[in-house]
């Protein structure tokens, strides 16, 4: 089996190694209702994309270290200076100044409340979360926006107090490294690889 493609940045450029696609032949699609007449073909695709987090990379790296970063507009000339953002926004949506990165881990541990939720029995291809997925949207004291994430223990309700947990062992460096559990949950009950940070 060939090696799945990996990427590093060297001298400001992407350096690729391994396999980024697997060529698979097309197969015919025939119509059983009409004596096997040709209808079309399958077009198999197996590709690996490359993607930069840019100015958000610090957020995704922080999750594996048990830190939840958000941002704040500190531009004194901005009409909405002081507005705090989770999800992380690189730039203030009002003045377009570069926001200050702020460690919100403590705010999240002490003020996170479920704004709304949804228990979803289904998922799409490439999903790696356990089903049903308990989507929660979380509000924080002093933060202007409402983060989407998922609950790993218990059943969600509106107004429920939750605390963040982080995939600190073998992080995937995706948003799935951040999850939430009800306030007061035991560390021993957390999913594999997750800690309170």
């Amino acid at each position: 089996m060939s090696k799945q493609g990996t990427v590093r940045v060297v001298n400001g450029r992407y350096k690729f190694s391994g396999e980024f696609h697997h060529a698979t032949p097309n197969t015919p699609i025939t119509n059983d209702d009409e004596g096997g007449k040709l209808v079309g073909v399958t077009n198999p695709r197996d590709m690996t994309y490359v993607h930069t987090y840019g100015g958000e990379a610090v957020f995704f790296e922080g999750l594996g270290k048990g830190i939840l970063y958000g941002t704040r507009c500190d531009n004194p000339k901005c009409e909405f200076t002081g507005t705090q953002y989770i999800p992380f926004r690189i730039h203030c949506p009002d003045c377009l100044g570069r926001n200050t990165v702020v460690d919100f881990t403590k705010t999240c541990r002490t003020t996170a409340t479920v704004h709304t939720f949804m228990v979803c029995e289904r998922s799409g291809a490439f999903n790696v979360l356990d089903k049903p997925i308990k989507f929660i949207n979380i509000e924080f004291e002093g933060v202007g926006t409402i983060l989407m994430s998922y609950l790993s223990l218990g059943e969600p309700t509106i107004g429920m107090k939750v605390v963040p947990i982080f995939r600190t062992t073998d992080p995937t460096f995706t948003i799935t490294d951040l999850s939430w559990v009800p306030e007061g949950a035991d560390e021993g009950d957390l999913p594999d690889g997750f800690t309170f940070g």
Partner: protein
């Protein structure tokens, strides 16, 4: 943005009157292995020509520029699919452009087309939309749709768009619906209505004679939403011909189509619902500043606008559209509507966003019977019937075509041609569909003005398309 400048709130203006002249559509279905997309587009354009007694070649000779709505080109693995269609329609070397705004793609395509004519760039322009989501299995399809959410912050969470949308439904259900069984039944009634109207539409993908209890017994997709609360995923195409006044009257001379004045406006809101910030409710002409002062007392849990319970994009599209067309009260000024019923609950949310009812009271539009062709409580015509096509739940959601299909539906009532376009036995037979014995003419008698709403997913884009008989303008 949570505060608007006066410049941003300026009512849009078209530089000259713009008209819908004709429109067409293909059959809609879940899968069409026997047809390429271009065949569906040819069907739609051929129908548009037929409605004004022209051959496709005659109609094409008027078209000066082309606007193509096609949302999900990653489904078909064909970039620049618009160019393929443009060539197959034989419209080269005219200028053409692709439009994609999620579920609002059809409406946005009309928005661009109308502006092209209003500006004087073209005297006659084509809006054509299509979609086909039948060429991948459902799981992969769910993943591809979830790519319309934020790739880093949402898509990895289950690769399922329903999850990102349904949190909003949950909030509405608890705060405004108060989790009442009676409200749950009202939602089910919308599905019964839309699948039921689809029974009289030969183009429709999902005609069904069902009851409220059938909806409530269908599988849970994301509580409280069940399978029969959700829109379809369809294949099909629809088109519209948009003209200036002289061309419109020339093209329709001695035909059954009267050119209809058309106004299209658009609004938007954050792609991630997470990024919605609290703001004041922008008011429509039929609302007053004080009427929402005690909203949070009447509906405990309302602590933000639009929060997760309203669609600011729909509100703004209505604000701009009503201003352009002179609408001061949508319940009085319109005779027929086509709304974007992606889910039964979002249908109710939209009633409030576009001012059919105040925020918190959308359900009354259904419970009063106003939304029906014939009010079930009185047996008289409904005050403002909606989704007589069957909507997205009963007729189709072939994304790029949807907003255009809705516009054709509204126009067919104002043209007084609804029965003619739906009753022909030969058409039912050609589509391999059985015309029901109780087929009913849903023509809204005397319809002069109507509106179609085109809406993307969690509310990132919404358009209002307003049609009026030019002899019954409001301003």
């Amino acid at each position: 943005m949570i505060k608007f400048s006066q410049r941003q709130l300026r009512i849009p203006k078209l530089l000259r009157p713009v008209y819908l002249v004709t429109a067409g559509q293909s059959k809609f279905g879940r899968a069409m292995p026997d047809k390429r997309t271009e065949e569906l587009c040819v069907d739609a354009l051929t129908m548009a020509a037929r409605l004004i007694d022209k051959t496709p070649a005659e109609l094409k000779s008027y078209i000066h520029s082309c606007y193509y709505g096609h949302f999900a080109d990653h489904f078909g693995d064909q970039l620049l699919g618009e160019s393929v269609i443009h060539d197959r329609l034989g419209l080269d070397p005219l200028g053409n452009i692709g439009v994609k705004t999620g579920g609002a793609t059809g409406g946005s395509t009309l928005w661009e087309t109308v502006k092209a004519v209003a500006s004087g760039y073209s005297d006659c322009a084509l809006a054509m939309g299509w979609e086909r989501m039948d060429e991948v299995p459902t799981d992969e399809g769910n993943h591809l749709i979830s790519c319309a959410a934020d790739k880093d912050w949402e898509t990895p969470l289950g690769h399922i768009y329903t999850g990102y949308y349904a949190v909003m439904a949950q909030k509405y259900w608890q705060v405004f619906g108060k989790e009442e069984e009676s409200f749950r039944r009202t939602l089910a009634e919308i599905s019964v209505k839309h699948h039921g109207y689809a029974r009289f539409n030969p183009y429709a993908h999902s005609p069904k004679k069902i009851t409220v209890d059938d909806v409530l017994a269908s599988p849970v997709v994301a509580y409280p939403l069940r399978a029969l609360d959700c829109c379809l995923m369809s294949v099909g195409a629809a088109c519209a011909i948009i003209c200036d006044e002289d061309t419109a009257f020339e093209l329709t001379k001695n035909t059954k189509n009267k050119p209809l004045r058309i106004f299209v406006a658009a609004g938007s809101h954050t792609l991630r619902p997470a990024c919605r910030r609290d703001m004041d409710i922008p008011l429509l002409p039929n609302e007053t500043a004080d009427q929402y002062a005690d909203l949070s007392e009447r509906f405990p849990g309302v602590d933000r606008y639009p929060g997760f319970t309203g669609f600011l994009a729909a509100r703004m599209a209505a604000y701009y559209g009503y201003g352009m067309a002179g609408v001061t009260d949508p319940m009085e000024d319109f005779d027929v509507l086509e709304l974007h019923d992606a889910f039964t609950i979002s249908d109710v949310q939209t009633y409030e966003d576009i001012g059919l009812r105040p925020y918190g009271y959308g359900r009354d539009y259904v419970e009063s019977g106003d939304c029906y062709h014939t009010n079930p409580h009185t047996g008289k015509p409904g005050k403002l019937p909606s989704n007589l096509s069957g909507g997205l739940i009963g007729c189709m959601h072939a994304v790029g075509a949807t907003g255009i299909m809705q516009t054709l539906e509204v126009a067919s009532h104002i043209w007084n041609r609804w029965a003619e376009l739906h009753e022909d036995e030969a058409l039912w037979k050609a589509f391999g569909r059985q015309k029901p014995d109780d087929w009913t003419d849903l023509q809204v008698k005397g319809a002069k003005r109507g509106m179609a709403i085109s809406h993307a997913g969690v509310g990132s884009h919404v358009t209002t398309t307003i049609l009026m008989d030019p002899d019954h303008l409001l301003s």
